[in-house]
Point group: C2
DNA sequence: TAGATTGTTAATCGATTAACAATC
DNA sequence: TAGATTGTTAATCGATTAACAATC
């Protein structure tokens, strides 16, 4: 299958392309050249064309790329033309903020369940989602076959909760904890602790 | 200067090394081999040694790396052996969560000012920080020479606010908005909209 | 000393870019 | 048609890895 040979760095750039194309769409633009995309994104036009051509020839010589068509193609490539159900574990401040974050639902991600171990918060509703006891987590996630989980628990319990998630079928974990998690091959792990990117940036300051 | 030649991918891995070393330190470990670090982090031992050797020979043949010494060296390389003052603009739910996030202060980042344009929230205190009118932003940031800003405003005003920040000396922006920002060369921009990493992950599911 | 593991070299692998024929 | 811009090739550039002498 062709898809398996796409470099990870290319895949990581596609959401940025999608983001920019959405912006152009809102501005009413019909087409865009690789050169313009490159200028906006701070890359070379050759890189843009090469990245896109992994998935097919979506452009037109002399004209560029049709914004809507390219956007839809990329959404299809990234499997964004469906709703993805997400579970969130750890309903602290960050967890609550993410549950209320409108950006998820407007892009096809829906947090459909949330778990915590604090009796104070279990049973409460946040952004329309009832917080369940984390003891229920495995049963619920298994039952509903949730593919993606957001991990916003304290560092100390991160690995344990991650193991439990994986045991009941979660395929991707967004790790917001400042922890180096061990996950089996085949499980996607995104480390998005806000501190990590800050620590990279300070090298250059 | 040697530092200028370090590949970005290497710099991006250093915080992960720091994270794991901190974990080992808490476990009371005195030394660690490149092989063990590699196993934990899912990389090769050669890569770890190569990355570290950009900054000097911190290891000892036959023994490995002294955890404390390596940790301190990396902290020094990443300029983490000081306090970094951070401004936050956009005190919505995500902004508030980040203001309350303990992970920043415990790693040497301190959100020292916050701004919003909503009269309802201006003047209130969140996590001990008084929210100021965004009209005051440029004056305050200039005056205190804040190098890092967290951008958590609505997408529509993101570019405008970013321009204002840069005009008054901000050198790095953590962009939490779903926007492709244009920034001048020399300004560090980290795109950490949570949706971006989700959209990358769905490609593989 | 014997065993272990580093730091570094050279080889490999992969990603980026310049250039241009194809073509809208 | 003339001008513009794609898709792709080949060259370049850069990052990763295997291997091993050095050495603790």
């Amino acid at each position: 299958m062709k898809r398996l040979t796409i470099p990870e760095v290319v895949v990581a750039r596609l959401p940025l392309y999608t983001q920019k194309l959405n912006q152009l769409l809102r501005e009413g633009r019909e087409s865009v050249s690789s050169q313009e995309m490159a200028d906006h994104l701070g890359i070379t036009s050759a890189q843009f064309r090469k990245d896109i051509s992994f998935f097919g020839g979506f452009g037109k010589q002399g004209t560029g790329y049709n914004v809507i068509k390219l956007l839809e193609s990329l959404r299809s490539v990234l499997n964004l033309d469906r709703i993805w159900e997400v579970a969130l574990v750890g309903v602290g401040r960050l967890g609550q903020a993410l549950m209320s974050y409108h950006g998820f639902s407007s892009t096809g991600f829906e947090i459909v369940m949330a778990f915590d171990n604090d009796p104070e918060i279990i049973g409460k509703s946040i952004a329309g989602i009832k917080v369940l006891d984390v003891k229920e987590m495995q049963k619920q996630i298994c039952h509903r076959e949730i593919p993606i989980a957001i991990l916003t628990v304290p560092a100390a319990s991160a690995q344990e909760i991650a193991d439990q998630m994986i045991a009941c079928g979660v395929k991707a974990i967004m790790n917001y904890t400042p922890t180096t998690l061990k996950v089996p091959k085949g499980i996607r792990l995104a480390n998005i602790d806000p501190v990590l990117s800050l620590q990279t940036i300070t090298f250059y300051l």
